[in-house]
Amino acid sequence: MDFTEEQLQRYSRHIILPEVGGKGQAKIASAKVILVGAGGLGCPVGYYLTAAGVGTIALIDNDNVEMSNLQRQIAHNVHTIGMPKVESAQKAFNALNPEVNIVPLNIRISKDNIIDLIKDYDIVVDGSDNFPTRYLVNDACVMAKKPLVSGAILRFEGQVTTIIPGEGHCYRCLFEAPPPAGLVPSCQEAGVLGVLPGVIGGLQATEVLKLILGKGEPLKGQLLIYDALKTSFRKVRVPRNPLCPVCGDNPTITELSDPNEEYCSLS
């Protein structure tokens, strides 16, 4: 890859890293990443991947920006309230790095469109705010064999895990099925410290860049749990479950389904 003077300046702190260099930066520039959710997690993940110079970043979200988002969803602002989140984020990301191709997808992800949406991308990032989507994204990534960097946040706690289909666990090896809707915290219980998605999203963006570069050890076969109140990080080993209904030896889930339960979400 021949860098322009502007690119040399923009990416100089990457290029001088032994693990990146010009070749690594070229890999980043040719990578295609799709983010599910342009909210608390999608904003920092998208921002950092844009800053890093990822070639193409698609954003899927069908919500509009609301005032209550601005406490944590850092790509949006008072001037974009009411606008689709994917367009608001596109404006923010383009202002940071106009050479990144941002693809805004103002749609709801479903069993009927997800395989088609992810097929042209190298890595999927889950920053969704509800269990049905989380399981749909997991199952689709297992079936389509797409690496998935999954993140979740609630109150003062966050989780990150990297799923490489065929090389380790999947989300259902961890938690076989979504919890019943009644056990999920209701809206009034589901607060979140505004900076928490910044920490978890930053970790997800790091995992994505490591996968693109082929450097380091991804969080595969592991779940990282961050407790902001204690400032503690815990890593829990998660072996692949041979009896897993989707990635096990004899899977019972062989096609995608849309869940019908209504969840009160955090958006």
């Binding site: 040399l8 290029i15 032994p18 260099g21 010009g22 070749k23």
Partner: protein
């Protein structure tokens, strides 16, 4: 005696850190193992920091020479991808 004829030459006079190293590193990346890069520069700090960083990255520094009041020439042999 070792052959130290450069396979590639770059002139990075006028550049300061970190662009001195950025240019030197990109030049080395584009070369084959065993080839020699000659660097002409006029930023004194880089005459020390480039050799050090090149060694840290596994390359071999063959020469660091001040050739006049303002300029240095470095010779680096690529040992590692």
């Amino acid at each position: 005696m070792e052959d130290t004829t450069p396979d590639k030459r770059i002139n990075i006079k006028g550049l300061v850190c970190p662009y001195t190293f950025v240019k030197a590193k990109l030049a080395i990346e584009s070369m084959e193992i065993g080839q020699i890069l000659e660097i002409l520069l006029d930023y004194e700090e880089a005459s020390r920091s480039i050799p050090k960083s090149m060694e840290d990255h596994g390359q071999r520094v063959l020469k660091v020479e001040k050739i006049n009041d303002t300029d240095w020439v470095l010779m680096i042999r690529k040992e590692k991808e």
